[in-house]
Symmetry: C2
Subunit: 226 residues, 2 copies
DNA sequence: CACGGGATTATGGTATACCATAACATTAGA
DNA sequence: TCTAATGTTATGGTATACCATAATCCCGTG
C-alpha cells in the first residue's frame, strides 16, 4: 500500500482561483499588455480571466496595494501611471538598493549564482538581437532577482519589485531606446564582472552608474509624455 | 447664489465602507490590538467592523499585500508574525532609508518642519513618562514621517511604513525595553540636532547609529520568542 | 446643426447565498 | 479510560443579486 500513499494525498499546493488570477493579471500588467492609465473594468476582467467578480475585485485590491493598479474613487481601477513627481525618487531608491545588493552579491555569490546571472545577461542580449523588448525586460528582471537573492536580500528584492511595478511602462520604453542595447548590456556586464571578481566596491559603483544612466533615459521618456 | 454652490456639491471625498474599514483595521493592527499570528476570522471582523464579508475580504487582501496580514492557504488570514530570517534585512533597509532621509532633511528642512519634529519628540518623551508605549510608537512614527516628507522622500516613506508594518510588535516591545526611554529619545534628539544644524553627514550618522541600536534590541527580543 | 434634458446602459460598492474543507464535538468500540 | 470514527459546526473560497451612481445614448427644441 505504501506505493499508493503519495497518489492519494490531496495536493496542498493547489492554488485558489484568486491566486491564479492574481498571478495572471500581475504578469499581464508587467508585460505591458495594458497601457498606463488603461481602465480595468471588472466585468471585462471576469470574462478574460474566467472567474467571478469576487475574485477579480480581490485581485484588484492586491494589485492596488502593490502599486500596479490605481483605484480612482468613483471611477474604478486603472493600470498605474508613472507619477512624474515620483520617478526620480523611485530610481534613486532602486539605485541605493541595487548597489547594495550588487555589493553583497559580490561577497557571497556562488559559481551557480554567477552562471545564472550570465545566462540571464545572454538572454538580455538575445532579446535585443530579436528586438523582443518584452524578453529583454523579463531577462533583466531575472538578472536582478538572481543578484538580490544571491546577496541574501529577498526583502529588498520585494521592495524593488514593487517599485518597478509602478514604472513598468517607463522601464520598457527606456529599454527600447536606441543605443540602449549596447550600453545597457555593457553596464550589466560590468556589474557581473565585478561580482565575478568578488569586488564589492566595483559592483556597487557599476550598479550605481547603470541606474544613473537609466534614470537619465527615463526622465527623457517621461518628458515626451508632456 | 454663489454662496450656496459649495453646499450643493456632492462630497467627492466621501469614503467607501471599504476605505473606512481598511483604515480602521490597519490602525488596529498597528496599535497592537491584535497579537502576531492572531487569526483574523472574517465573520468576526464583519461584526466588529459592521460591514459585510465582501468588504472584509477586500480589506484583508489590501493588508496582505501591505505585509500586515499573512494569508495561510487553507487556513485563513492572521496578523503577520515577524519572520526571523527577515528582521535583520528589514532593519538594514530602514537604516539605509532613514539615514538617507535624515541627510536630505538636514539640507531641506524648514523651520516649520523642525518645529513639528520637535513636537513629535516631546510627545515621545511624554509617552515614556506616562509609560504609554502606544503613544511613544505613534509619536515616533510621526517624527519620522515628518522627517521623510521634509526631505521630499514620500516614496521612501511608503516603503519604510510597509517594512515597519511587518515588525510592529517587535518595534513596540523594543520601545518598551528598560533604558530605551532615555537612550531612544536621546538618539532621536541627536538626529534632530544635526538636522537643525543642517549637518547632513551628522544626521546620516546619527540615524544609522539609532537604527543599529534598535536592531540589537530587536534581535534580543526576537530571541526571547524561541 | 448644436445643445440640453431625459432615458438607458454600464459600472463600482455592497450584501448574501452556496459549497467545500477545516476544526471541533460526540459517540462507539477496544 | 483512551482512541478512532463519525457527525456537526465554523470558516474560507467563490458566485450571484441588488442598488446607487457614472457614463452614454437618443430625442426634442431652439
Amino acid at each position: 500500500m505504501d506505493n499508493n500513499t503519495e497518489a492519494l494525498l490531496v495536493d496542498r499546493s493547489a492554488k485558489t482561483l484568486r491566486q491564479l488570477a492574481l498571478e495572471k493579471l500581475r504578469t499581464a500588467i508587467l508585460e505591458l499588455k495594458f497601457q498606463p492609465g488603461e481602465r480595468l473594468v471588472e466585468r471585462s476582467l471576469c470574462e478574460r480571466l474566467g472567474v467571478s467578480r469576487s475574485v477579480v475585485r480581490e485581485v484588484l485590491r492586491h494589485l492596488e496595494s502593490e502599486g500596479l493598479v490605481e483605484g480612482i474613487p468613483g471611477h474604478g481601477p486603472a493600470v498605474a501611471r508613472p507619477d512624474p513627481g515620483k520617478i526620480t525618487q523611485i530610481y534613486e531608491l532602486r539605485s541605493i538598493l541595487e548597489a547594495m545588493a550588487a555589493q553583497y552579491c559580490a561577497a557571497q555569490a556562488t559559481p551557480a549564482d554567477i552562471t545564472r546571472m550570465r545566462h540571464a545577461l545572454a538572454a538580455v542580449r538575445a532579446g535585443y538581437a530579436a528586438s523582443d523588448y518584452a524578453a529583454v525586460l523579463a531577462a533583466t528582471t531575472l538578472f536582478y532577482e538572481t543578484m538580490f537573492l544571491a546577496a541574501g536580500r529577498d526583502v529588498a528584492w520585494d521592495v524593488v519589485t514593487s517599485l518597478n511595478g509602478r514604472i513598468t511602462h517607463l522601464r520598457a520604453t527606456t529599454i527600447a531606446t536606441p543605443g540602449r542595447d549596447k550600453d545597457g548590456a555593457a553596464e550589466m556586464q560590468a556589474i557581473l564582472d565585478a561580482i565575478e571578481a568578488h569586488d564589492g566596491a566595483a559592483a556597487h559603483a557599476a550598479s550605481a552608474a547603470h541606474l544613473h544612466n537609466a534614470l537619465q533615459l527615463a526622465l527623457v521618456q517621461a518628458r515626451k509624455r508632456g
